[in-house]
Amino acid sequence: MTGPTPSPTKEHGLHLLREMIRIRRFEEKCAELYGSGKIRGFLHLYIGEEAVAVGALQALRPDDAIVATYREHGQALVRGIPATSIMAEMYGKSGGCSRGRGGSMHLFDAATRFYGGNAIVGGGLPLAVGLALADQLRGERRVTACFFGDGAVAEGEFHESLNLAALWRLPVLFLCENNLYAMGTAIERHQAQLDLMLKARGYRVAGESVDGMDVLAVQAAAEHAVAHVRAGEGPFFLEAKTYRFRAHSAYDPELYRPKEEVERWKKRDPIELLLARLRESRLLEPADLERIEAEAAREVAEAVAFAEASPWEPVEDLLRDVSAEAPRAGGATPAAATAAVAGATP
């Protein structure tokens, strides 16, 4: 899959634009709310990387599964988790998509098979392998898409998971969002081999690298990758080369990268690239963009209002959801079970 992608229809082009702008405006608001103390803890913004989630998720069906990282607001929004419940989660309110227990890094939604929000780098890959194993065992033609960053490539779980998924031909799309930094460590300083395709090839995993700033290219590559996986051909490794415009988290003074580098990448802003493309193809009128911006602003405003109004969970519920409410005892009644264990001696 190389070369320029064909122009989208106007409808689809605007859809992609709308999704990227939704993420951008939502996160800009999050940054502001972090500043005002409404959102606490860690806040990892996706700004600059929107084309990856938006492009990739076009290739998925509603019954496919997603495992994401702590930088997952974009995936969650595109997947269809309401912005209201995502924002309430950021606030830690009971109306949050994880009832406030997870926060920004742990967005979950069983209804859309969105399995988090994993904040251990590399920790989500084995989960994706297991979700895919369950599908394979049950004969389901579903795909599990697993997002992770370039930092995860240094973790043992990356290597174990690619190997196991390839060995068992599991339907996993491994999607590496290579934003060139593992927190503050440049990829040149954490990888001996910078060509990540070679790592996939080393495990006999099919792979492709794509310009992660070009949403149309990401979508095309993801569709190709998902078709491979859904056809039962085994896992696929898709690398999206992208860049994070904002700091790693709110605590990051960005001492590790020159401002010029950031500015250079901002010239390839995925939203601007798509806008240029749509204008070039005469698929965008000023009114379209105004409408999209107005819709995004309204969605963000509603999300904030919902989060503000959402109640705090009562502290009496502190111990909720540590274990299931009422674990079932085994087949035996307690009395019978006690008799049974008392019957044997070691």
Partner: protein
């Protein structure tokens, strides 16, 4: 019928695989090799490679895959060869299995069973002999069980599979060859309560897993001296059956905790603390503990034996608390 601990676990695995199509077994050498401790021998032939799955040496990923499959509604049984190797998948167990229900606000359930061998006594030195189950018993979101009898080896697995949360099953490596009688219709047992394995009035000996047999031997020796020890098998290390511990201590007024884990920051410390919190005024003597010496388990037999709780030391500790009548 006459059976062994190993065969009892195999019978439990077979029953689970027969009864529930969602169950599969996965781990290192569980298939063609027949299981490191021969527990799963014959199961590959009976149930096939889809359900008896040999894995690469990738503890973190195959345990994580078990978690993922459990989230998706399967009932995986993952065998980690020994608890010593489970440190390679500690992240998956502690950061994923134990937290996903909570972090997801109750949306995700992880009905996973992880079986591991634990403990010393076979001269396999410091990287194959430790007892880390107390660490796991520290973690909210996990259930930790330790079958010490044939009935529990046979019956705990099914109950663990019915539990909607992750259950870790610790099989002491010296128990696999344990022989005894088990009723033909032996089946599921509870995984909630401790069990009195020997009633007594003079001192409570609280233990679990691999040290139950040694503790019962100590109780036999004490009985010959006129000291009637009650032996309480914890069975479930998390959540602890505190009521059973306190009830025994309320009766005997003395307690010795026997744990193959080390003493510092340990499960034995937790049991002792609960007795102090809940039965302080029932006690006639300070709580005593018999634990492993604070040394990586050494290879030579005489040093390994010296490092581990032994019947003589257990009996001596019991005599001391009985003599220390307040």
């Amino acid at each position: 019928m006459k059976t062994t601990y190993r065969d009892a676990i195999r019978a439990a695995l077979r029953e689970a695989l027969q009864k529930d199509p969602r169950v599969f077994l996965m781990g290192e050498d569980v298939g063609r090799y027949g299981g490191t401790y021969a527990v799963s021998r014959g199961l590959l032939e009976e149930f096939g490679p889809e359900r008896i799955r040999d894995t690469p040496l990738s503890e973190s990923t195959f345990v994580g895959a078990g978690i993922g499959a459990a989230m998706a509604g399967m009932r995986p049984i993952v065998e980690v060869m020994t608890v010593n190797f489970s440190l390679l998948c500690l992240d998956q167990i502690v950061n994923n299995a134990a937290t996903l229900r909570h972090m997801s606000g109750g949306q995700v359930s992880v009905p996973l069973v992880v079986r591991m061998a634990t403990g010393a006594g076979r001269q396999v030195a410091a990287q194959h002999s430790h007892s880390w189950e107390g660490w796991y018993a520290h973690v909210p979101g996990l259930k930790v069980v330790a079958p010490a009898t044939l009935a529990d080896a046979r019956g705990m697995l099914w109950s663990a599979l019915q539990d909607p949360d992750p259950v870790l099953v610790f099989e002491h490596a010296t128990l696999y060859g344990l022989e005894g009688e088990l009723p033909d219709d032996a089946g599921a047992v509870d995984i909630a309560r401790a069990a009195v394995r020997r009633p007594g009035r003079d001192v409570s000996l609280v233990t679990y897993g691999g040290t139950l047999g040694k503790t019962l031997q100590a109780a036999e020796a004490l009985a010959k001296e006129g000291i009637e020890a009650e032996v309480l098998d914890l069975r479930v290390l998390r959540p602890l059956d505190t009521a059973a511990i306190l009830a025994s201590v309320a009766k005997t007024r003395r307690a010795v905790i026997v744990d193959e884990g080390w003493r510092s920051g340990s499960l034995s410390a937790e049991v002792s603390a609960r007795i102090m919190e809940g039965a302080f005024y029932d006690l006639d003597a300070p709580v005593a503990r018999v634990c492993s010496a604070e040394v990586p388990i050494p290879y030579p037999r005489h040093l390994e034996e010296a490092a581990l709780p032994q019947p003589a030391a257990i009996a001596e500790a019991a005599r001391n608390v009985v003599r220390a009548h307040g």
